[in-house]
Symmetry: C3
Subunit: 272 residues, 3 copies
């Protein structure tokens, strides 16, 4: 069984440097979430220096939510550099399947085999070619309904695939398919912009601290979010106070709190 | 008399998708405000996909606060698409009259006859050619002093024109000129960046939910803000806590709370 | 001894207009911090209008944290305009020495002799040619260890040089070298993105209100931050609530509170 407590401690002790090429809407929350969990964020997203910085980073997040041409070129360069140095990188396929230009660029990024992919059910279904895509950052498909699509995607690319929802599903298709389901969090999460996008950065931080075990890293990142979300919900009066309490909770939850999150594991035979 | 309660319910039930081409400073607050009132924000602001997304949006906001060339081109494309599909769109003329390049681009956007224009008194006066423009997002003219300018602007373009201030004025010049004045809010609002700019997105959401009655939609959006601002002020200790309480209040105020906001209506003969 | 109370009052009474060409991650906090201290922020960062706006601003901040080509050109134009009008401007050399492109552009900006430079110890050491640079916005060198480097930099450029850390050091090398050390703040500050970057904007506001005495202006800005940070730490439960309380405190601290911050002054002979 994955040792989540060790993963949490690894992040807090190694202070991984995470380069985020992400959308401007969620940059503040993403940076603050990384700081709160014990990582160091750096939003280096210009084509002139993205590759140079990727070579000194421990993890890399790519999210094209508001990408300009500079950000697209920066992503190409940073991913290439990360692959050279063996740095784990995460793709957040935000709005995949909804608008053509972004879809084209995400498809191209996919061919570079991300260490992990994190999206909502609609995006994962669309990536696997079985869904219509989400309109925005909301998800209209259910997590369980796209599990097969997530497995196919993981099998095709070798990536850990994480589907965010009321219960998150994380799948990794190797000789067998490992599946983890993470419960917790809060109904306020979809009402705060960036809770999903910032999780992509946190996944990159966990991968940076635990590069040899990407499945455990991705599960631990989701458990950390679920534990903090549950705690924050208890003291919030709405989405504004939830966002504040959530950052406090990301910082204050212990490894034991995170281990106590409801995570169930499953293994299935490879289906493709 | 406009049925504000019905407008509030329409937004919460229809969950309008609002595309915001807005400045990066206020993107997080604008997205969170839209989520809090029951809408879905999408900050799609690149020339490559802005028009495609505008065709599936219920409302569109244009605010050139930090616009790059990509954002200007995105706005042109999105406005054109919105006009083709009959999607309501809102122009926030932030800093009109202060810097030439932006002024030129706002002038061009005006010729496409926005469904609604929302600005402060200085910006509205400058738009109508009767004021000097504001230095930044602050307003140096009074709302009542620019009412005539707002009416002229509404008459010339057919737009609903909203002037934000201590008491907001919303005017719509048809065969008669309808005027609504909305009281409430808080002195903390000008101390939180984006309270005005995010209202532009909320106006677009209300227009998206109530496209057949733009005057009521714009009044209801302002009443929603006024109700939430008043509630938030009661539990705030400064501008930082006000911003948090305000998002909570946008989410928690009921249709009855919003209807209880002080709104007075007036009708005057067309003056131009 | 510098009259910090007079500086605080000057900002609150003159409401200086501060143009910020800064990174998108910290734009919201930077704008809100400026509003909270009594200044007016304007994030005018496009090459087409940056110079025109700099001519009507009271202070200018340059921070290349996420700079695009437009922002670099905007900075060149705005700095040139500020020098023509005698408007004080602040350079935040974020990540200097870590990535080549940004380092080149910061070097170029340095030749235009900023009124003040604000950075962390690693950045100041790198600027003076005596350190390796920081990886991100964190600092790995100590403030006192780079004091000599800060003095050399101030002597070479005439700039007030401020080094942020647990105890901030502000140096100004004239016929003698004046040094101020400011204590206070909170351990939460490095866990909230933009506390350092937003201080750059606040320094520009103080310089705008007190252009004749840049040393006092920079010290007062740091004392204002230290007083607010100390107050906020007392009522915070983590980095999320700290950020909220900090904005409240920036607004509520009195001139007397700010004067009560621990500031020690020193004078040394010029060493270069």
């Amino acid at each position: 069984m994955p040792d989540l407590a060790a993963a949490v401690t690894a992040v807090r002790e190694s202070n991984p440097l995470v380069q985020c090429i992400t959308n401007t809407v969620v940059q503040p929350l993403s940076a603050n979430a990384l700081l709160a969990i014990g990582a160091s964020p750096a939003m280096i997203n210009h084509e002139a220096d993205a590759a140079q910085f990727a070579r000194i980073s421990d993890g890399l997040l790519i999210n094209f939510g508001t990408a300009s041409s500079h950000n697209f070129l920066a992503a190409d360069a940073a991913i290439t550099a990360a692959r050279e140095t063996g740095t784990p990188w995460v793709l957040d396929p935000v709005s995949y399947g909804v608008i053509d230009y972004r879809t084209t660029r995400i498809k191209q990024a996919l061919t570079w085999q991300p260490t992990a992919i994190r999206g909502n059910a609609s995006e994962i279904a669309a990536l696997a070619g079985t869904g219509a895509g989400a309109r925005g950052v909301d998800s209209t498909d259910e997590v369980e309904a796209v599990l097969e699509a997530a497995i196919q995607l993981s099998h095709a690319l070798g990536s850990v695939v994480a589907v965010s929802g009321e219960v998150d599903a994380i799948v990794h298709a190797g000789e067998q398919v490992r599946i983890a389901r993470v419960s917790g969090g809060s109904d306020y999460m979809p009402l705060v912009v960036g809770t999903g996008c910032s999780l992509g950065g946190v996944v990159a931080a966990y991968l940076g601290a635990l590069p040899a075990d990407p499945f455990t890293a991705v599960v631990a990142a989701h458990a950390h979010y679920a534990a903090a979300g549950t705690r924050a919900a208890g003291t919030s009066r709405g989405p504004g106070s939830f966002a504040v309490e959530f950052l406090d909770a990301l910082h204050s939850v212990t490894a034991a709190d995170i281990t106590a999150v409801g995570v169930s594991y499953d293994t299935v035979e490879v289906t493709a």
